[in-house]
């Protein structure tokens, strides 16, 4: 995100704090797709993810006056989204979650022949990225797709910066394991 956009996001938040609906709509237009995708990757349900973004931006409407501008608005939005997504996940039954995680991994590791036959590296990569745990998925997405720095990821996830770095390293190792099980060797690790 450009410095100019970050600055204008701050201006929009200032106007939202004064009750400006138009500023709210512009901020929504600017960020809702990325917020939706981040939420969807966490909760894995489009309907819930849509409800989630309404709640996230409603929180922005309510809390805009308390935003101090110490981080980028997009970082703040992702932190709220993560908090709300995790609350949703906690409300689900543990069994349901385990099944879901197992299914996701099964998709990749139980069908190595199919994946090999396709010889489609990027498709296999995508399926294995989906097979990562929620903790690993979010850090991969934040760094690669949302282009967040070490410091920003630490702020969104609420962990120390060194943990951010090692967590991504182990997420990548896990991804390599899933890819290997799916018949894709990449020469690392």
């Amino acid at each position: 995100m450009s410095v100019t956009q970050a600055a204008s996001d701050d201006v929009l938040i200032g106007r939202i704090a004064q009750g400006d609906r138009l500023a709210m709509q512009v901020l929504y237009g600017r960020h809702h797709v990325k917020v939706f995708r981040f939420g969807l990757r966490l909760v894995r349900d489009e309907q819930i993810a849509e409800d989630l973004i309404s709640e996230v931006f409603l929180d922005v409407w309510r809390q805009a006056g308390k935003f101090e501008g110490r981080s980028a608005v997009s970082t703040w939005l992702l932190a709220i989204t993560r908090f709300k997504a995790l609350s949703v996940l906690r409300r689900r039954k543990d069994g349901e979650l385990d099944d879901e995680a197992a299914n996701a991994i099964e998709d990749t590791s139980d069908n190595p022949e199919i994946a090999t036959q396709k010889k489609d590296t990027s498709e296999t990569l995508r399926r294995c990225l989906n097979g990562l745990s929620q903790e690993h998925r979010e850090i991969v997405d934040l760094v690669y797709y949302h282009e967040k720095s070490v410091e920003e990821v630490a702020e969104i996830v609420g962990i120390p910066e060194n943990t951010v770095k090692t967590r991504l390293f182990y997420a990548r190792k896990k991804l390599a394991e899933l890819l290997k099980a799916a018949g894709l060797e990449r020469g690392w690790p």
Binding site: G19, Y28, G29, R30, I53, L129, T166
Partner: protein
Amino acid sequence: MMAMKKMQEQEPSEIELLLPWHAAGTLNARDARRVEDALARDPELARQFAVIQDEYAATIGLNESLGAPSARAMQKLLDAIDREPARAAPASLRFGAHISTFLASLSPRTLAWSAGLGALALMVEAGVIGAVLMRQPASFQTASLSMNAPSPAQAAPRALVRFAPEARVTDITALLDSYHASIIDGAKGGLFQLQFGDRAMTKDEMTALINRLQQEKIVTLAVAAP
């Protein structure tokens, strides 16, 4: 001893840990230079970086394939905002209210004295300004007029619009015709800035226009431009 050696071998180096951020271009200049130097020296690290670049591209592809939320999400948000309690007045207005309360608490006699002193201060100030101006040499300046700046009364309404991915050029052209609209900027983040007609609209007219746009099949998002 062997176990310790194995652990050290598995422990990633600081540079290795930074590779994903280097791929995403989010390292500061100093760290980026450190990583570049290490990549130039270490072929093993360079091989791992190539793997990371594949992961980076696949993650972007995966996220981009997720699509976008429907217009329902925004409508739900706006409905929720409508149900929110009215905002407290901004700090400047609250300060004004404090002043009014303070003045109301003063007795009539105190207020009369204060007003008298205020009037006297204004007369003295006016006298000083007048004296300074009388000493200025006679000259004049014209006010500048920018022909580019639109008069607020003539400002045509504008909106930010995102078209559905399946929208064809002919669909968009037909929509622009039916709304007497033209694209004046875009597509930043997939949003086009449209201008409607050549006359200003009231707030209600603008709201109706945005609502109509949001109902269009080929429009996934429409908001009034600031």
